[in-house]
């Protein structure tokens, strides 16, 4: 102990350790290799996206005009003339129906998981939710067919219709929103919630006035991801909605089926007709634009609600 105390005198500076130049050089080299691989990974990963856009535009450019998105398909085989309005309108139908089911259910479950639930029930619910995310969409389609389309299941008997298809898509969307909502709420500083509770707010009041606002960005991302997921689904619609070349006359029963962009591409590509192939490519560009506009729109809604409503 006495020796140790001697070393620690003020006039005795800390010994300078030798710097290993070679080691530092090697580490710098490794660093640049890591950067190189990261950039390469991004380039390779994003290549398909650019390729898809290029290919779709290059093949389908002839049809990318206002008429294409504003008229119904006609001619023989159906779609040889006219546009894809039926599919765009159908997508709007499906998104609205799916969101009416999935947004309240997803947000509700997410809030329950992060704020109200007990630890043990939460772990079970979380597992079920992850399971739901992992269920293949074709399975959802079969389930949707039995539950909503036929009268065998719960007796809904909606037929092949927008309602049956939209609800099935809604169930695909729900676990995604749940996941993102829970994450968003968990990222809010605990002091917000504590502050509200210490004021005598009930948990519901704290949720309504403080938590939803602080988490709204994450919740909107969840809704957006959910919509983007279902917009590209075809398998669940095969058994619940299929396709309509015209406008729907309702949301259930005969005439209740709607068109759908992903389904349109799937069907057109299967037809032995060059024109329909080109139109499918053009439709995929429209689908990309549709998602882009939706993204911007929802971000705007998020911004406006944050600014003026809450």
């Amino acid at each position: 102990m006495a020796e140790l105390a001697n070393i620690k005198k003020d006039d005795d500076p800390m010994p300078v350790f030798p710097i290993n130049r070679g080691y530092l050089k090697r580490k710098k080299f490794y660093n640049s290799i890591a950067v190189f691989f990261a950039v390469m990974a991004f380039v390779i990963g994003s290549f398909p996206v650019f390729h898809i856009i290029y290919e779709a535009v290059a093949v389908g450019y002839k049809y990318l005009n206002w008429k294409f998105v504003s008229t119904l398909p006609t001619g023989f085989p159906i779609g040889a003339r006219g546009g894809i309005l039926n599919a765009i309108v159908g997508d709007v139908y499906l998104i609205i129906i799916a969101s009416i089911l999935a947004v309240p259910m997803g947000i509700g479950t997410g809030l329950y998981l992060s704020l109200f639930g007990k630890k043990r029930t939460n772990s079970v619910l979380r597992l079920l939710n992850e399971l739901m995310v992992g269920i293949p969409s074709v399975v959802w389609g079969i389930v949707g067919f039995y539950v909503f389309s036929t009268n065998a299941g719960l007796g809904f008997h909606f037929g092949f219709s927008a309602l049956a298809g939209g609800l099935t898509l809604g169930f695909i969307m729900t676990p995604i929103i749940t996941l993102l909502t829970e994450q968003a709420v968990n990222q809010i500083p605990a002091s917000y919630i504590e502050g509200a509770l210490a004021m005598g707010a009930t948990k519901l009041q704290a949720t309504k006035s403080v938590i939803i606002k602080a988490a709204s960005g994450g919740i909107f991302t969840g809704i957006l991801l959910g919509i983007m997921n279902i917009i590209g689904q075809t398998a669940p619609l095969l058994f619940t909605n299929y396709y309509n070349t015209g406008m729907p006359t309702g949301v259930t029963g005969p005439g209740g089926a709607v068109g759908d962009l992903a389904m349109l591409i799937f069907i057109y590509i299967h037809e032995p007709s060059k024109i329909l192939h080109y139109k499918a490519e053009a439709a995929s560009v429209v689908l990309l634009l549709f998602i882009f506009i939706l993204d911007l729109g929802l971000r705007l809604i998020n911004y406006l609600t944050k600014r003026f409503l809450l």
């Binding site: 504590e194 005598g200 403080v210």
Partner: protein, 254 residues
């Protein structure tokens, strides 16, 4: 002992467990009406936990267990029939970090009124103004009441939190190291506030700053490892501590 009428909060045989960990060990003390009481002690000694037992904030901590009684105005707050919302309306709390809500300055103060169902706009406006004036913040923010609370500095945010806490007209104010993260100027403003506020509120402050505690307190207690080592009038506490451990702490030998 003080006279029965003067006692606002009385704590009897309070034990608090977190899982298997015995956090608060048999605490017995009382807080007098309209006085400032500081609870001193090193970090992690249970001051904050003790404060949070007084307004039942520990209800939400999983694995927490509590025995003993906390009497406010003679009523046990751990009684099953007690309304927690009503209790918390009566007890304002200010936290260590300034934690304004992500709302405007006005809405932050109005929050407490709104959640208790007050809809009269004139009343709310008047009350918000008054609270901000009490907290010494009104002159600084009167032109930007509807801007985000995050545009304020740390010291201003903390005073906003105080204004928010007194908006529901509580009779007790709990402060959990309210000046820990503030600069000296903001700190002295808040200490002055505490001294003026003791006319209206029973104030209980947790602190580990001995100098500040000495300035403001009427009563002081010393916590160590979940035990209440000493509790006395501030004069005796700071000049003639009875316990060796208290003396060590006050003279900063910890």
């Amino acid at each position: 002992m003080a006279e029965q009428n003067d006692i606002k909060v009385e704590v009897k045989n309070l034990n608090f467990y977190y899982g298997n960990y015995h956090l608060l060990k048999n605490i017995n003390l009382y807080f007098k009406k309209d006085s400032v009481c500081t609870l001193l002690g090193p970090s992690g000694c249970g001051k904050s936990t003790f404060l949070r037992t007084l307004n039942r904030m520990n209800d939400y901590t999983e694995g927490a267990k509590l025995t003993g009684e906390v009497l406010i105005d003679g009523k046990n707050i751990y009684n099953k029939s007690l309304d927690v919302v009503e209790l918390r309306r009566n007890i304002g709390m200010v936290f260590q970090n300034p934690n304004p809500f992500p709302k405007s300055i006005f809405d932050n103060v109005a929050f407490g009124l709104k959640i208790h169902g007050i809809k009269n706009k004139e009343f709310i406006t008047e009350r918000v103004e008054k609270c901000l004036k009490y907290a010494g913040l009104y002159d600084e923010v009167k032109n930007k009441l509807h801007q985000s609370a995050f545009s304020l500095s740390g010291g201003q945010q903390q005073r906003l939190c105080i204004a928010r806490a007194i908006a529901t007209n509580p009779s007790i104010l709990l402060m959990d190291e309210p000046t820990a993260y503030l600069d000296p100027v903001s700190t002295s403003i808040i200490l002055d506030l505490i001294t003026t506020f003791k006319k209206y509120y029973t104030i209980i402050v947790a602190s580990h700053n001995i100098q500040q505690a000495g300035k403001i307190s009427d009563y002081s207690g010393f916590f160590l490892d979940g035990e209440l080592i000493e509790f006395d009038e501030a004069g005796n506490f700071f000049t003639r501590p009875k316990d060796k451990r208290t003396e060590n702490f006050i003279t900063s030998r910890y």
